[in-house]
């Protein structure tokens, strides 16, 4: 699971108010090269929650060099985009869990695929 996916997910158990962002418990992290696509990065930047992204990057150990807030100029800067690209698309959580901040419910991540299915009493 990449941080882009993490950014889109929340705990959707019935009744949970505060299910975002999910905390990450990493067991195995892998890095895989992905094509650098500045247009895609800029369009994704507008659509992700930056704070949640930083939380995720911290957990996956790739937050270095990522600013607390991003300016328009930085979005045109290749240096920043490379770092953003690396954290967003190249670092993958292979094994671990996503944990709901409110209930502590663990969503397991196995082979890089988070299991977001709910049990019968959570729907």
């Amino acid at each position: 699971m990449k941080l882009l996916t993490h950014n889109f997910l929340q705990c959707h158990i019935k009744g949970v108010k505060n299910g975002y962002p999910l905390n990450i418990e990493a067991v195995k992290i892998e890095e895989r090269d992905a094509d650098f696509d500045p247009d895609f990065l800029r369009s994704m930047f507008k659509r992700i929650d930056w704070k949640a992204f930083l939380v995720g990057a911290q957990a996956l150990g790739c937050a270095e060099g990522l600013p607390q807030a991003v300016s328009e100029e930085q979005l045109q800067d290749d240096g920043f985009l490379q770092k953003f690209h690396h954290a967003l698309l190249e670092v993958c959580l292979e094994e671990g869990s996503l944990i709901c901040p409110e209930t502590g419910r663990r969503f397991p991540v196995v082979k890089g695929i988070p299991n977001m299915l709910l049990n019968e009493d959570e729907v």
């Binding site: 699971m1 990449k2 889109f8 299915l117 019968e120 009493d121």
Partner: protein, 569 residues
Amino acid sequence: MGRSRTNLTTKQVYLAPRAEAAAAAAAAAAAAASTTVSTDSTSATASALQQLQLQEQQQQPPLTSASDRQHLEACYELQDAAPSSSNSQQLSASSSTTTQRYLVYFLHRLLDFRVPELEALADMYGVPNVRCEAPPGEHGSLGPFWYVHLPNEQVAAAIVARAVLIRGIFELWGEGSSFEEMGAAVAALPAAAKAPYCGPDTSFKIVLDAWGHSWSEEQQQQMIDRCPEFLPSQGRVELRAPQQTFWLACARLGGANGLPASEPRWYFGRQVALADRSWVKGYALPRRAYIGPTSMDPEVAFLMTNLAQVRRSSLVLDPYVGTGSILIAAAARNAHTMGCDIDVRVLKHGRKCPKSGRQVDIYSNYEQYGLQYPVGLLRMDVHTHPFREGMGEVFSAILGDPPYGVRAGGRKLVAKSHAIRHRSSHIPSTEPYSLTECLADLLELAAVTLVTGGRLVFFMPASPETYKEDQLPCHPMLATVSNVEQPLQSRYSRRLVTMVKVKPYDPVVAAQFKESRKDFVMDIDRLHDIVYATEQQQQQQGDGGGSVDGSSEGSSVVKVKAKYRSKMC
């Protein structure tokens, strides 16, 4: 459909058993030549595109030895560049001023899908509401030739390079119900229109194409011998890489194989762009590492990406990813792909390849074609999806083949209140998911997560008994662009629906709409009963005895005679 296709010239008869490859190779060169010759007719805005095209053709490796992947990449270079940002706007501006009529030659398959694909691609390359009409003659809309009005040859070439169901686009020089009438029309064309393509320095060839019938060698030779009557070409004949290729085509059903015979319609045109279909073989399912019983035919998957206007840097979601067969096509368009499925087996475990004993999964397919890995794979249920509130507009396109119960039935999570003992290893129970509900959830997901202007393309089943226009799923944020049928058997077909998000999501309107559709159930939800009904049950229905839904409305249409279609459908 019997069809003879050979390349003939005024000086030589060339009868290779499979001349396809040679013709395709020649087409690339011819297209390159045509861009240089026709600069007078192009606007300045198109020149960037033209350069790209030339560049693309230089990159293109020779067809005979081309690896499919490299070749595809070269093909897509142009397509992706064309619509991005400013180019398409400039093109659309020029399109509103003048358009020219071209002849488009469709493949004879997935008949109803052909025009929507052309429209979607034209729209993508800056020609909204493209005008296309069926030419005169009795073939009507089912015939292989159509007129299309496009601003210039560059747009035509871009469309042909990406289309799945187009063989080529031609500049029509003459047509008629007989060879003589067509020849006279070409002869009557002003000399100035023909001169740039018929000079002494312009090499050429003529391709003879009989659609729906066949010609003997002598007939072909006779036709070629008569071409100088109307074609003033002075250049030398060049079969392998001519600068200009002319097509002499005749559409006539020969009446073979129990199909109806029809009157001929002759066309003569100058080739503007010819499709290279070598990629189809490269993506064929039998050679794919990981497939399942519902893997999407690659041509249809690529068609879906065209209808959805998937382009470079798009983020594309398939909510029913399965073996990833639709996402592969999107990834081949250089889009970023994301897939989810409720079934963990297909996602995580894959299967063991019977030949090599190797474990294969979705990633194996991406590796096989050298594509960029998906940005995310998720196990989730669309009915209770985990996408965060306020995520807003994220996906440029959503493509999907929802489970509709003939080969694979839909499942969704179910709420129960029994005690769960081992949470970590518990397998949540699911219940069947009706198609009505499944599609309503899909449309709701699209209404929320698509960017405005983004497209949703999905299949749904239909049967002649139950299909009614007003049964189609709908949503206040989405408008239907096209809705076309692919017949599968006499009892049911599937429809490919393309929708576009027309306005930003309004939760109040969406909630009201959901409330108003609370009790709506599509008739097609009993598809399984229709498809697997025994002869006896059908008979009973026919007698008006016990029709499945209690109405006798559908009973008289059980024996619906299919429209004339090719076997390939």
